[in-house]
Point group: C2
Chain length 162, copies 2
């Protein structure tokens, strides 16, 4: 008689799957950063910030909203925006509606930067991920990713950073 115990170690297929995923978790972000760094002197995270601003109305977002889009803590975002600001791609303004909020605003040269960086990044995502998979696999990957994200959100003992 077998019992569906909570497992105390990963074995067999589970271990292999986890090992494969863990490798992706380690290498894919590094590969993405590498391309963006080489071609646009941007980390993937910084690109994400610029991209989110580029797709926002008036190229403007409150820091706290932006940190949500970028899956980031406010302090990480604050430092990243400082860097982007010093390179002239973003500027900050207090929100006239409520001075506690800070608006991050994409500058014209920031927009140019995103536009230049986007094709290379999109190509890399295709080359490393999308083009390697069958269409059903792409769908599965989306569903699998969402399930994992939901599981993380559900965890009572851990809040994803905002």
């Amino acid at each position: 008689m077998t019992t569906p115990d909570t497992p105390t170690a990963l074995v067999g297929e589970d271990l292999e799957t986890w090992a494969a995923l863990a490798t992706v978790l380690e290498w894919l972000p590094a590969a993405l950063d590498s391309q963006l760094q080489r071609d646009a002197q941007l980390t993937h995270f910084e690109y994400g910030v610029l991209y989110a601003l580029a797709n926002a109305p008036d190229s403007t977002l409150r820091m706290s909203v932006l940190s949500g889009y970028a899956n980031s803590s406010l302090s990480r975002l604050s430092r990243a925006v400082t860097r982007l600001e010093s390179r002239g791609w973003v500027r900050r303004e207090p929100d006239p509606v409520d001075g506690r909020f800070t608006l991050a605003i994409l500058t014209d040269s920031g927009r140019t930067k995103v536009d230049e960086a986007t094709p290379g990044h999109a190509q890399t995502v295709h080359r490393l991920v999308l083009d390697r998979l069958t269409k059903p696999q792409v769908r599965q990957l989306r569903e699998i990713s969402r399930r994992i994200t939901r599981a993380i959100g559900d965890g009572q003992e851990w809040e994803p950073p905002r």
Copy 2:
């Protein structure tokens, strides 16, 4: 007539899939680190090092081999082992066979540490990933992950860190 151009931006299903995966890439490592940090004062990377040693003959591996197993650069590994050494879980010895190699050796208390940390980590992997997926999805995830890893390895302009 449509042409299969190299795309210059991600749109539609591709964008959604990529966004979902990017979220996993951001949150899953953080969630894993969070549990291990809380329950065992270990990063996921440090756990991986101890785990690899625990499963090696004589609980011993050359630094360069270990860095392969841990998907890490030698310099990152060197620093991690320094930390683990200072906590008494690993010790270093020059390889008697060839003094250029350094052997990393798991201590008894290091073994105890891995054994204590493993069930909680395995549970977290189940809770966040494996238990959320159907069996076919687990298989697909393994295959998808391997394809992505292979794609990264193929890239001529980027070598995965050893």
